[in-house]
Symmetry: C2
Subunit: 229 residues, 2 copies
Amino acid sequence: MMDERLAVCLISGGMDSTTAAYLAKRQGFGIIGLHINYGQRTEERERRCARTIAELLGAREFMEVDIGYLLQIGRSSLTDRSIEVEDYDPSDEDLPTTYVPFRNANLLSIATSLAEARGAEAIFIGAQAQDYSGYPDCRREFMEAFQRAIDLGTSPRTHIRLIAPFLEMNKTEILRLGLSMGVPYGQTWSCYRGGDLACGRCGSCHFRRSAFRELGIEDPLRYEDEGHD
Amino acid sequence: MMDERLAVCLISGGMDSTTAAYLAKRQGFGIIGLHINYGQRTEERERRCARTIAELLGAREFMEVDIGYLLQIGRSSLTDRSIEVEDYDPSDEDLPTTYVPFRNANLLSIATSLAEARGAEAIFIGAQAQDYSGYPDCRREFMEAFQRAIDLGTSPRTHIRLIAPFLEMNKTEILRLGLSMGVPYGQTWSCYRGGDLACGRCGSCHFRRSAFRELGIEDPLRYEDEGHD
């Protein structure tokens, strides 16, 4: 047990990060779950999902971190209630309003501090660039730059590998992999809006539903417009 | 005023970050002060110092951010009360116990999010490697890696320059520069321990006092052992 290889897994409660954590487990890592609230609309539900996933994975530790400052800083529809979450629009070439400035660097810095303190060898992040090519901090080049910052900014004895397995995969491929590992997608949450049921129309719902549809599998989540679809 | 160039200045309340902020001002930047509490022993005093400095600089904005998670993560004598702050020992080759895992990456990620949201062009950080060569995240190579992460992880329209002017300067050189700009060092705090007066013996006090001594100038701060020194 003392010699178990550990991985810090960023678990938001959504599909991608959950699938990444299951992949870490399958690769033999003991899981340190890290869930970060940054004042997003759907915080409470995502927190519950992340905690459930960590339990199901038999995580060695589950840490919840609140970083209210992204809310103080503002500028994203995910954290600023005065900006509306837009419906998905494939013709829109701007960064989506849901972009949170430099969010992944903040998440990865926390994950690295935790990994260094616990002697973990890896960090898993579910970032994927395929669908949301608009998020600069979801690209391979960014992850490579951050890996270098980790290598140079931690103790010389520390070696942490940043693993972002889904950067070049789309939602359908991630879902297919996850289903093959038995990921309980009914326990995950994707919708950007804060309703009781998933809205079905925001960018995140859009790609999730398309993925299930493409594989011809029923999404265990319930949507607002169900029955009309 | 709308066209003023803005810089986010990380102001801890200590000598180096204060001097860096004065340098930003002298270079013509409008100042956005950013003070980050991470559960360190001397938090309250540093907060007061940072706020005073921001006022004296006529900062456009002063943001205080609390990140309790470095305390949750532990492993440093600055945040973990069960680990003692050691006296300065030049023969010790290990990382000092005051090392907080990957701290500067966390601070810089927050600063970058704020800079991107406000349209600031620069981030000033007072990190210096000369005295504490033990901190990996205070080295030039780390700053260069982080600059690359900023370039790749923010919007293509965003251009933020990470300015760490003191990396190759020692405390005496920083102090000389600061005095030439009229930095009010009586309003700064350096001691790692949480006493009413500065202890005079921790690494941070040690280098501060040496610098004043070397320039033959009286430190406006009061120390515990004053009169015996």
